[in-house]
Structures are given as C-alpha cells and as structure tokens.
Symmetry: D3
C-alpha cells in the first residue's frame, strides 16, 4: 500500500515558462525510458520478486522513489506551460514569427487535451505503454534492464540539460542526473551482490549451460564486410565469465538446409504448385 505527501522530492520551479521545452520534457515523463517506465518496472519487479529480503526491499524503495519523479516532472511541465499562448490565431502568427515558432513547436495536446498540464506521452506524443517494462522474476536479467534504463534515462536527461538555460530547470535536472548516477551504481552493485550471494552467475539465466550447443557459444560470426571486427576483446581471448574462449569466424557458411515452409491445410488457400 502507498502513502503520499504533497511535497515534492525535490524542487521543480522554472524561472519562467517555456512551452517548447515543456514538450521536450515529456520524454522524461512518458517516453520509453522515462520515469513512468522505471516506476512501473521497479514496482512490478518488486511485486514479482521471489528473493525476499534485501533485494525486494531495495527494489521497492527505488520504485517508490521513481513515482515521485513522475510527479516532479509533471509539476515542472505544468509550470513551464503557465501562460502558454493557447489562443493564438493565424492572424497573430502572421504578425509575430517568434510567436509562430513557439506555437508551431508546442505540443497541441498539452493544451487541447491536458488543459496546460503534463500527459502520459513522450516528446512526439506517443502514449506510454506497458511493453516498455519487464519484470521477469530473474533478477540478473531484470537488473541488467534496470542498468540500461538508468543509462538511457541519464543520457536523455543530459541532452535535455543542454537544451535549456533556465536556472530552475537546470537545478532540478542536476538532481535527476545525480539520481540516475546513483541508480546506475545501485543496479551495478546489485548485480555484484547477486553474484557474490551465489544466486546468479555471468550468464542469465544460470541454467542449461551444459545442454546448450557448446560449439556455438563463443564464436563471433562475421557476416558484415567490415574488416576490423576481430580486433576487439570480443573476438579472441577469455570471455568475461572466465570460462569461454572467444573466436572469430570470417564469413562462415550457414549450417542449416534450405528454408522452406511445408504446405498448410488446403483450406487455407495458400498458393502452391
């Protein structure tokens, strides 16, 4: 069960409105790697967690925090939209190209649908959806998604940081950047912990390692014609699990027969000779 305080985790006050930026900031609310994603992802992972104790507790701590980030960004967006020129007409644009540029670049739905507030969509107006998240029950596989999410999230935040010079916005983004740094470290550390606790290894999942095809689990298939792919650590030497030796196959032949689809039921009316 959740409780809520109306105070924000961190301040979210721009020095002045900026409707163009309010559109861009939607990426951090409802984008594939935005705060709705990490909030929902960590909560579903916490609820599905089968390793009670410190893992579950930590996942739910961070999931609860991320929900507050959605709130913080939604509040910032509403404030950036204060006084946005919603009633601008064609005549006004003709006389004022700067106004025209602003109106042209705004997200019309923030006005028409959201009444000057944030929406659960990204910076192109695409709605957030449940396929952005995963909670597989396997913590190594999931924590790797989490490291990735905090990395893409911090990258987008850094890009957005460069697109504004509003001190209030920058102050909030400095907090977001810091939390994304912490969260990358936290998930990297949690992966180490899983391995130290003997719960998971290098390969996810830690299963079927003996059953899988041993001939094909350490070779890089060279199928593009770049000439330097074999110069990386991934093409020779010992792999990061300390157990496999990488090798590079240059333009190898296929191993299978001709692909073909058998005739289906005749009443499916596939064309066949």
């Amino acid at each position: 069960m959740f409780r809520h305080t109306q105070r924000l985790q961190f301040e979210a006050k721009p020095d002045q409105p900026d409707p163009l930026y309010a559109k861009k900031l939607q990426e951090l609310v409802g984008g594939a790697w935005g705060e709705m994603t990490v909030a929902m992802q960590y909560m579903f992972q916490g609820w599905n967690c089968r390793a009670p104790g410190k893992y579950k507790d930590m996942i739910l701590d961070i999931g609860t925090e991320e929900l507050g980030h959605v709130e913080m960004l939604a509040t910032m967006i509403a404030r950036l939209l204060e006084g946005a020129p919603s009633e601008t007409t064609a005549g006004m644009v003709d006389n004022d190209p700067v106004l025209g540029a602003i109106v042209g670049g705004m997200d019309p739905q923030q006005a028409i649908v959201g009444g000057g507030g944030a929406l659960p969509v990204d910076s192109d107006g695409t709605p957030w959806n449940g396929k952005y998240i995963v909670a597989s029950g396997n913590l190594l596989a999931d924590f790797r998604v989490n490291v990735a999410a905090e990395s893409q999230g911090r990258l987008q935040t850094a890009r957005l940081y460069r697109m504004t010079d509003d001190p209030g916005v920058k102050e909030m983004l400095k907090f977001n950047l810091a939390r994304d740094t912490m969260h990358q470290l936290q998930w990297l550390s949690a992966i180490e912990q899983l391995q130290e606790d003997g719960l998971e290894g290098t390969i996810a999942p830690n299963a079927l390692l003996d059953e899988e095809n041993q001939q094909h689990n350490s070779t890089l298939w060279g199928l593009s014609d770049g000439t330097t792919a074999d110069q990386g650590k991934w093409a020779s030497g010992t792999a990061p699990d300390g157990q496999h030796e990488f090798s590079y196959l240059d333009q190898p032949d296929p191993l299978g027969d001709l692909a073909s689809a058998p005739p289906p039921d005749p009443y499916l009316y596939a064309t066949s000779e």
Copy 2:
C-alpha cells in the same frame, strides 16, 4: 546493402507439428525481446554508430546474424503449423476434447491471417513495434540495453526449452541458447573494451558528473518499509565506479515544496477557485 542465402544459419526442423507450441514460439519472433528486436536494434545501432572501426563492424556482424534468426524461427513456426486443424468445427470439438484444447489454445491469426505461417507478433498476438528498440549513439548506454536484451532473450528461450520435448525443436533451441550466451559475453566484453579504450566510463554518459547534484548521487532513499534494504552492497561501501561511497537514508523527508500547478490560460477552462 544486404545479401541473402536461402540456407538457414542452423537447422529448424521439428520432429512433428505442434500448433500450441507454434503460438508460444511467436514470443521469440515478434516479442519485445525477440529476434526482430535484436535484429532491428543492432542494425539501427550500427547505422548510427559514430565510432567507426571495430565497434561498428562488430555491431553490424551481429545485427546481420539476428536477421537470420528471425528467418530460422519463422521457418520453424511454419513447420510446427503443418497440418494444424484449421477447419475444426464446433461439432468436432464436442467429440474430441484433446482436439478442442488444441484448437482453443492455437493462435487463430496464424491460420486466418498468416495462412499457416509466422506473424510479426508475440505469443499474445501483440504486434512488434519500433519502441522495442533503441539506438542512442552512446555505445555504453546501448550496449547495456544489448546485454539486457540477450539476457531476457536467453531466459525466454530457456523457458520455452522446457515446454517442449520435440527433439528437433530442442536441437534448434540449444543453438539459440548458445548464441544468446555468446551474445551476452560479447556485449559484456564490448563494454570492457569501451572502458579500456577510454571512450566511456562507469556512468553513462560520461558527462556532467561534476555539474550534477553531488549530495544526491550516492544515497539510497528508503521509501518502502522493508527493513533490510540497507544490508546490500548498494547501501554502504564503495560504489562500482570506485569513486562514490554509498549511504542509506531511512524514510527521508522530501526536499521540495508543495506540488502545485499554476493557472493555465483562462480559455483552457480549467476549474479553479
């Protein structure tokens, strides 16, 4: 530019048809973590790669391989659907509950839409979409997504491996498991290479580390009431970057003021007092 051979990378012949399994296997074709995802993701990453040389070459090698995996799985699905009971009617089901169970559990679109072939959808029939992939230009952020994708992919393959006892299907899945093992190792190794080459560090992106809020980049906010979150490596000691010291804040107060949305343009007709 691409070239194609009609031979499969690896054999994909089931010992016998199994329409229920043909539905499940769609997850590896058109699911969020399926082969269409990794194929498209690696290709867009390769095309967007700004680090020419070994990175770009390697990314395009693996992207090209993954396309062949889509083909291999699509072929397997068509073969599993051979002879699927497409003309089964209500009367036949009444007399044969096993047939009924099969018909009830099949993906109707594989027959009605695909004519007994694979579809670009997942095991629940949800179509693949472009939001499943990312190519950000930042290789650390992207390679972390790639490690995650190969981990979720191998996990799903392992689960599917347990849901069949068909020797031909298992043979192919052993190859897929092996490639997923290799690809996890390959991306983990590529991350090490990025760091050894001095191109990226522990935090993605390697920027704004001094500008971000230093007070908040190493503390875990304890916002759920589990009591053991502070017992992991993520809550104390040195972080994986060797530079931050983790600490744990138990039920900390919010730092911001009351959240509030300012009045929008009056012609947006928000209710206000």
Copy 3:
C-alpha cells in the same frame, strides 16, 4: 444498414486555409474523445443493446449523427489545407520565418500520407484505436462513459474555438458546441430514465450490493497528506444513493498481510534463495 447523403449535416467552410489549425482540428476527428470515438462507441452500444425499444432507437440515432460529424470535420480539415505550402524547401524557410513557423507546425503526414486531407489520427499524429470505446451491455455504465465523452469533447471544442478567429470555422464550432451540449443533456436524461424505469439504480451494476464488503463501501481512505479532503460532501453525510453514510479514515493502516509472490515452477528460472 446505412445510407448516406453527400450533403453535410452542417456547413464546414473556413474563410481561408490555415494549415496549423488543420493539425489541431485532428484532435476532434481521431483523438481519444473525438468524433470517431463517439460514432463507433454509440454504434457498438446500439448493436449490443439488450433493452430494445426507446433506448436502442435513441442510441442508434445519435451514433448515426456522430458519423456525420466525422465527415463534417474531415471536410473542414481538407478545406483548411487548401494551398498549404507543401513544396516548401529549406531555402524558402530561411528567407521567410513566418512560412517557416507554419511549415514547422504543420502535420507532415496530412501532406505526405493524406495528400492534403484529414487522417484518422489525433493532433499529435497518434492513430485512433478501438480501445477508445466501450459497449459493455450495461446501459448505466455506458451512458456514464457517454456523458464523460461529450463533456471532454465539448471542452476540447471550446479550447479549439479560442484558437481561431476564422468566421467560417467558428460557425461550425458553434454548431458542434451546441450538439455537445445537447448530447450531455441527452445522456444525463437517459440516466434519469433508466432509473425511473427501474432498470438501473445509482450504483453500476445494480448487483452484488449485499454481497460486497459492507465495511468498506462508504469510507474515504486518507492516504495523501493534504489536510482538507474531509471537508467535501464525499467525506461525511449521506451519499448520493441515499443509503450510505460517508466517513473519512485519516491515514488508516493496511488491512492485508505482507505482499509476496510464491515460487513459480522452477523451470521459469526466477531468482530465489
């Protein structure tokens, strides 16, 4: 079965083209609360209606009208796009910032895909989809959705009315506003009729009222820390059904045990201790 006349229900002629406004108006065609939504929603409700007679007849009257609204708005959009600067190039924009603002703010798909016509999408370009509508068979539940749809629709129309000063557009929107007023009244009245006819009560559905948990059907759980939630009619006194007495629980304790997920099948490879 339907018949069609090529005359519009109401006139839809702008005084002059306005491609920026043509984008915004898409919200009323293909938005979540646009005319495609009410047209499809009322038609599916009419077809699924199990209360033959006046309810079904009325629903199909209004559903048929709404289809004509889609046509009216699609026609208006095509007319607003007449002469839109589709061949504008970078050089032209450089020399004419007003033109640039217009080109930047237009919906590129109205030209590239629609050839200067309306699209089944909203003002951010998101396609209309079938999840926007509901036809549950329960008329109270559905009529409440209908009241809501006409309210959101009139709100969006009012906002759009303020974003233009074209007399022809405003004339059409005055008609639309009027129909939305009528349709709000119509569905409110239909809810009264359902209740007068003894078909439905205050709660939807009119069932399981005795079986539901009686302790928890009239209390407001105070889970946010605002201090005034108990000052509304919803927190004390008699509820709108005349049968329940509202009360307010300030920061109540949870009633359930610890949430936990049991171990799944081991071959799903969830991490567990």
Copy 4:
C-alpha cells in the same frame, strides 16, 4: 512524493492456484478500465488540479489508494499462478484433456515473459497505454470520466466475481466491489460539490453557452428508423439543466452543402479532373 508499506491494503490469498483465472484477472490490472488506469488517471488529475484545497486533497487520496489496488491484484495473480503447468508438452496434453484445456487457456506471456507474475496488460494481452487516461484540468469533465471508470470497473469486477468459486478470491473481490461502490458515490458527490460551490454547472465546460448555436442545443436528430426514440425523457420536456426544452426531429434534412475537398497543391499528385 510517495512512501510504501509492504503490507497490502486488503488480503489477496486464493485458496488454490487457478491459471485460467489469472489470465482473466489481468483485465483488472492492465485493462482500459483496470486499476492502472484509475491510479494513473487520478494522479495526473491531482497533479494538474488548479482548484487547491479539498478537491486536490481528495483526488490524491484516491489516486494513492488505487496504486495499492494494482499491487493487490498483481499479488493475487502471482499467487493464482503458483504451480502453473509451465513445462507442459504436447505429449502431456494428448494424454490429459483437462490439462490441455488449462494450458490452452492460459496466458503464455505470464510464464514466458513474466516468470509466473502479473503483466501490465489486459486479459487479451494488450498492453496498458497512456491514452486510457485523461486529466483535462476541468474537474466536471474529469469527474464524469471517473464516475464512468468506477462503473465499468465495478461491472467487470462483478462479472469476474461470477467466474470463480474460490473463497479467497471472492473475499478480495468483495472488497474491490465495495471500493468501487464507494468511489462511484465519491465522484457523484464531488460533482454535486462542484455545482454547490458554484465552480461548475450542468454542462462542461461552463462556457460559450451563449455563443453556441442556440437552435441546435436541445434537439434530438432522428437518423435511425427505430420508431420509439421520441418516447424517452430525452426527446421532450425540460432537460436536466432546467433550462433547455428537448424536442425530436424525425428524419431531418441536412443543413450543409455538398461535402467536397478542394484541390490540394498539385505536387501532392491527387487525382483530379
């Protein structure tokens, strides 16, 4: 900012697993009218609320509660999936039609993707998305959506209540039914409060009532050939706002001219004579 307790708002323990029901229950988690919808909808409405005081406080109370409902249902689903036959193969199905029926009717993604846990999707596997919710800033328009949501939600819960005879599941659903009853009453009461406080009237929004086309704001257009649509309260007498008189137009003529689309830019290559 949010806080979380690991205790559930109400108990969620089935007497025994039931994987078929676990699929159906997804509707209440990630369906268009499920708990994710009301949780997100009320939170965005609370954040966007411009009427500080009791309205905002109440909205955030209920939004915070609904998040706990997502948790409660996700927990129930994981428990219903305990021991689900994930490794069932074709051979096993052939010998056991009951098992076959169960396997055929299960949601394969709950195993393959969720590892035996809940997913942010509905009972057909369609992912939740942000277009399910609205927060317009106009409280009358939004509270009407909320009444509708709690009505559809209670209706679906009632239907699901009839599809199980598990005492533990029924106990939880009795709580859900009760909360949906309360929430319908709460929003109905909040609409009365808005009107008593003079903030909104009968029509949403309370604006442009004089500017709209007065000839067309109280007539029902009879466009289907049912003969009894004029027998309801919606076709004659005083409307619910006490100000309009309803009337019925039987098969009225259209008011507009012929619909036509003007020629677009010639370089859009529309076919024209």
Copy 5:
C-alpha cells in the same frame, strides 16, 4: 450525413451459439483487413476525393455498404455468444474437458468487457487502429490498396467459412464472399476506368517518370541466392506498362560508398573516437 435502418443488409442468424467461433469472427470486424478497415478507408477516400462525379459517388456507395457489414458481423457475434458459459469456474472445468476447451479458447474480453457482444478488436484481441487505412488523394494508389483489401478480406472469409458447419453462419458468409468478389471486380474495373479516362497510367503517381533514374527503373536486383528468379516475366521482356524492358542483375555490386553517420552535436554525447 448518414441515415440508418435497423434492418441488416443480409441475415445474420447462427443456428446455434458457438463462442469459439465468435472469437475467430472478430478478425472480420476489427482485424487489419476487416470491415471496420474497409468502411473507414472508403469513407476517408470518398471525403478526400478530388475527382468529383462518378468516382466519388461510387466510393461513397461502397463505404456506406461496408459500415453495414460491421453491423452485420457484430450482430452475428452477439448471437454466437448467446448462452456462452461466462460463469464457468475452475471446478466445472475439471469435470468437463469439453467445457474447459471452450472456456480456454474463448475471448475473455467479449464477456468481461463487451458483456457478450462484439468488440472493435481482431481475433487475437488487438484493437483496430487508424493506421490500417489510407486515403492518399491519388486514386490509382488507393484503388490498388482497395483491391488488396478485398482480396485479403475474401481470403480470410474463405478460411473462416471452412472453420464452421453452422448453416446460418455459412449463409451469411456466402453473402460476404460474394460481396468481396464484387468489390474486387469493382476496384479492378475502377482502375481500368481511371486509365481509360486518362487520369492515371500504369505507374502511381503518373509523375516524375522522366526525372527518375532511368538506369534503375527496370532491373531486378538478384540479392538472394535462389537460382530461378530470372525465369519469371518480371526479369525479361516488356513490362506491363509497355514501355520498360525488364532485365536481371545477378548479385550486383552496391553503387554507393561506405555508409557512415557524421558526428552529431557534441552535447548529444554520442560515443566517438
């Protein structure tokens, strides 16, 4: 503007309910090639039509008919769902595998969401969306989509015809098959008419034929290793426009330089050397 009669274009009465088939038939209502698609597609094409006269008139005739097909199929689905076992519980399934197969294979949303009625979704539960249709303004391009839609539609109908032995259902499908035959012929004929009227030629659009690269508009690039692609009419001889001569290039070299992406703005933090 539209008018509606409550009589169906053709009868839609099954001899008996069949909930499994009711799920499959959703493909023809809300599938990518179902009746909602052709209805909406033809209506948008009619509204966007710039060739007034016989083309526009004919398009609107058929679009109006298709709407009636949606109604006919939605009615059939509701009738097939009569008496569907909505309250079936786990216990009942255990004792009756045929019932279990039926319950497992039904679309749960038809009961939970639609209350025993049709939904605007396909046979896998994916909602219909606006991207299924096109109205480009170019009639040749659009009529070719229409021929394709009626072909896929008739194919799916033929497959569904084989999946039932209910005389009432088959009677309706015989009508649908006939209309699809007519509509294929109608659009093929309309393409001939366009060409006879000199409005369009063989290539869509009839423009830029001289400006396009003349070296590359009649050669088949052989990029797969099948050996017989040059044995079709498409690889030699005169093309269907009577103007180009086909030729076949076996494994041709690429014409462009190395693909590469230039460095973006440094503040986008792409990894580069």
Copy 6:
C-alpha cells in the same frame, strides 16, 4: 541467412544538413508504407511462400533489397541531422525566428532518443508496427498488397521530392522513385505470371466461387445519394474477370431482419427489460 556490406546500394549524401527534412523523411523509414514495411513484408512472404522456385526466389531478392533501402534512408537522415541545433534554448529562439521555426519543426526524439540518428518511426513519431505487413500464403492476395505498397511508397517519395531542393537528396530520391517504378512493374508482372501459370485467377482466393451467393457477386449497391455512380465501368457491362455482368441497384432495400442482440448470461449484467 543474410550477409551485409557496409557499402550502400546507392549514394545518400545531402549537400547540406536540413533537420526539418530529416523529420519528414522518417515517413519513408518507419511509416506504414515505408521501407521497413516492404522489407519485412517481402521477407515474411518469402519465408511463408509455398510455391517454391521462381516466386520464392524473386520475393527474397526484393525483400533483401528493401532492407538496404532502410539502411540508405537511415544514413541519409543521420547526415541531414549533422549540426542540428540541439542545444537551442528559449533565449536563442527569441532572438532568431528562423532558428525558432527550425527548432519547432524538428522531431525532438531524433535528438533526445536517437542522438542525431534515424528512428523506427514515421514523420509524426508513431512507431512502426507489425500490423503494417501481411504474408498470407496466397500470392495473388499478397502481390496485390505489394503493388499497393509500392504505389503508396512512390507517391510519398514523389511528394517528398518536391519538398527539397538539395541536389544530393534529390539524387537519392530519383533512385528510390526508379526502384518504386520497377517494383510496381515487377509485382504487376508477377500477378500476370501467376495467372498464366494457372496458379491463381482474377478473384482471390480462387475458391468458393460456386458456393458464394451468386445473386450478390456483381451488383453495386447505391447507398449514397450521388447520382453518377452508375456511369462507371463498374456498374454495367462485363467485369474484369470476363464472367460477371455488373449491375447497379439504386437505393436497394436491406435483405435482413431487424438487428438484435440476444440476452447474454444474466451474470454479465446487461441492462434488459
């Protein structure tokens, strides 16, 4: 299995960057009729092809080529984005309306998400999805979709050709136009081949022609009130299959009875009298 060369099929070098155009060009990458669509469509058709030999070989030739078109366009987009003003702030826009127009009209996700590269989305930012393609197994039905796809694709390319004056971009588009011309001819020719080979006829599928309702397979139902629909070839004379005689029914009566939905299970709580 596939192989890849890093050389492009054709050159893709703009003379100078143009971020506004980079957004529009997304339509050809990830739009409904873009290169991802034809690439994936032809590959799935090739894999599902049951007519081995020249048809399958040809389909896979062209599918493989289209993949290279995705690459070519993605490369062009990255080059058009070189130097795009990603760090533009509100202050800069205020002083430079041309810059403002550019920033307002750019796709923000190309910077924030793609780091200055192409995305798998269309020109409105909607992600590509698997429902854009079809591979039904019936080659006549599928080749008709292919003709349509190449027609819509060439039409969009022609429109985009008019929206730029950059010689490098135009050079690439001249190649694309030429390939679309060839591909239209190729599929038209393949349809002729299917018919010459006796594999398919005029109607898809070539089945149930005797069983379908013979009264209704050649009449045009006049349901809109335009007066000239009967003046086309589609309304009289011999149909394109040489076997049916067209006729025109002016405002015909419906053939079916009243539409009605039967009562569902009472526990679905549909409103009924």
